[in-house]
Symmetry: C2
Subunit: 199 residues, 2 copies
């Protein structure tokens, strides 16, 4: 299988960490994609022009990261990183929260990358930054789960914090000691996290 | 259960159509939410401040629309709108494609709603519009599926087209006759679609 990816993408990182964790990494051929290049085959694989995309051996393309994680979980037997019991919707909601924080963080980066300074909007940037701040409070308040089984919510949460380290100088660390400890423990038990550090 | 919603949201529309289709609508109490109002309880239910959110009777809040559709499918016995067989990842990828088109359409609306004319960026608007255009080509090329079972991909596709009707004057109809016919057939077989038309 081919994974269209980029080292800086927190969503692609979710996929690689999941593949690591499920012992499926050797099944993935990682092929970088340039989301800004119209000539890149990415747009024929995913009309949204976004990464990650997983191209199966029969040519079918799966996206986005959540769908790919679901596929990898299924390939590994099912119920591994997406719980089947009552914790299922808690795990999926934590994944959605972390994905949403990453979207809000990316929109701040895009505000700088895509447009000149005179077209940046302070209110829009603040609106997105507040989503990130509330998301961090949500995860901090949630604390550690009783289970030590890694799920899609944990993987997304770790990629979210890693992205804030990468693009926002890790300023979240100052006021979220609980999350700093959480991420240290996650990184210790999931080697794929350190192996995929961006930059 | 309480659904935090808004009549104009294509993502909330997915949830209501799914509840309709699964005969779960009478279990939902629909409570409007104002995503721009910091005093709305929405932000305590979903730190991202986005709709839809499903608040369960025990107080747990589930989001986003994909997670809620998964929950409703489970509540209806499972395997109803999210296939369990080999079609599963096709359905989930079509849902992701349609959700992504809706995100790109919403970002164009927000570009006008959130900022003054002097801070709008034509290149950014074009970048998002191209995602919508490629998404429409993708669905047009895919054509009708052999199965007549409604899945999450169909529901998202219909909400995507409905949103383009609502906010972009239905200009997609001119060059996508195949999709016009598809949407007519969907609306005919899924009464929840007409029942949730915005505006």
């Amino acid at each position: 299988m081919i994974l269209r990816s980029s080292p800086a993408s927190p969503f692609a990182r979710k996929v690689i960490i999941a593949a690591h964790h499920l012992a499926l990494l050797d099944r993935l051929q990682i092929l970088p994609a340039d989301t800004r290049d119209p000539a890149d085959s990415l747009r024929s694989q995913n009309p949204l022009g976004k990464i990650p995309v997983l191209v199966l051996d029969d040519g079918r393309a799966l996206y986005d990261s959540r769908v790919i994680l679901d596929y990898l979980d299924d390939l590994a037997g099912g119920g591994r990183i997406i719980p089947r019991g009552p914790e299922r919707f808690d795990a999926l909601t934590r994944q959605a929260a972390a994905d949403g924080v990453m979207d809000a963080a990316l929109l701040q980066i895009y505000e700088h990358r895509f447009r000149g300074a005179e077209r940046r909007d302070a209110d829009w940037l603040a609106y997105q930054a507040e989503k990130v701040a509330r998301g961090l409070e949500f995860f901090q308040a949630a604390g550690d789960r009783p289970s030590d089984r890694v799920d899609v919510g944990d993987i997304a949460q770790a990629c979210m914090l890693g992205y804030l380290d990468f693009r926002f100088d890790g300023t979240w660390r100052k006021e979220h000691a609980g999350l700093v400890g959480w991420l240290d423990r996650f990184a210790h038990s999931v080697p794929g996290f350190a192996a995929t550090a961006p930059g």
